[in-house]
């Protein structure tokens, strides 16, 4: 598609439950990025992919967070055993060649 699509728009989970977020990058874009916006205006990088390969995962809290980008499927970000502090808006972005990033509308995760 011509825009980055993210689903669901909103997700509510009880503490300790699993959360899974999806991202369909713009067709033809080789790079996918995940960012977390916790406080209103701070973007924290989580992970990036070049095609289906992890490019940079230095921002991932590895004990509970995982992500995949498989061929012919939306990319996914999964949080096992969610905590209150995981409440945030999660943005996915894609890039054709690794420079300008185009963002999706975000998924708002609320952990109760």
């Amino acid at each position: 598609g011509e825009e980055v699509a993210q689903t669901p728009k909103h997700l509510v989970r009880g503490e300790g439950q699993k959360a899974k977020l999806y991202c369909a990058p713009i067709k033809g874009h080789s790079y996918v990025f995940w960012y977390q916006q916790v406080l209103k205006n701070e973007f924290k990088f989580l992970i990036s992919f070049q095609n289906e390969n992890v490019f940079d995962e230095t921002g991932m809290p590895k004990e509970r967070f995982s992500a995949k980008c498989l061929p012919n499927s939306p990319c996914s970000l999964e949080i096992q055993a969610t905590k209150l502090e995981d409440s945030a808006v999660y943005f996915c972005a894609s890039s054709p060649g690794g420079d300008t990033q185009y963002f999706g509308p975000g998924t708002r995760l609320t952990v109760l």
């Binding site: 990036s48 990033q101 963002f103």
Partner: protein
């Protein structure tokens, strides 16, 4: 450690006048810079970019200036319109496929 800073959380400008949004960075390796516009409950929308080989890039009403020696960039919007009211983020990175580092945003209000 905030590598990209936007020191003005908010700015108000009269319609038709110039809006100037500022951004400072600390990492001299940054060689590519973006400005995004963000409305509430939406993802950031790419506005304009500049690479470190240039000191100015223009696109319609939007011009970005880069001063590498001062590690400073600015976004000029002329003339400002009420529809420009949004939060503006600057972002910077280096290399291909790397994460962007974001400032904390400046909320612009254009008064009709």
């Amino acid at each position: 450690d905030q590598q990209v800073k936007q020191n003005s959380p908010s700015l108000s400008v009269q319609e038709g006048r110039i809006s100037i949004l500022n951004c400072d960075y600390t990492n001299s390796m940054f060689d590519y810079f973006l400005w995004y516009k963000k409305y509430p409950a939406e993802g950031p929308t790419f506005l304009i970019s500049i690479s470190s080989i240039k000191d100015k890039n223009e696109d319609g009403r939007f011009t970005v200036f880069l001063n590498k020696s001062a590690k400073h960039l600015s976004l000029h919007i002329v003339p400002s319109q009420p529809g420009d009211s949004a939060v503006y983020f600057c972002a910077a990175n280096w290399g291909t496929g790397n994460q962007f580092y974001f400032g904390t945003g400046t909320s612009l209000t254009v008064i009709p």
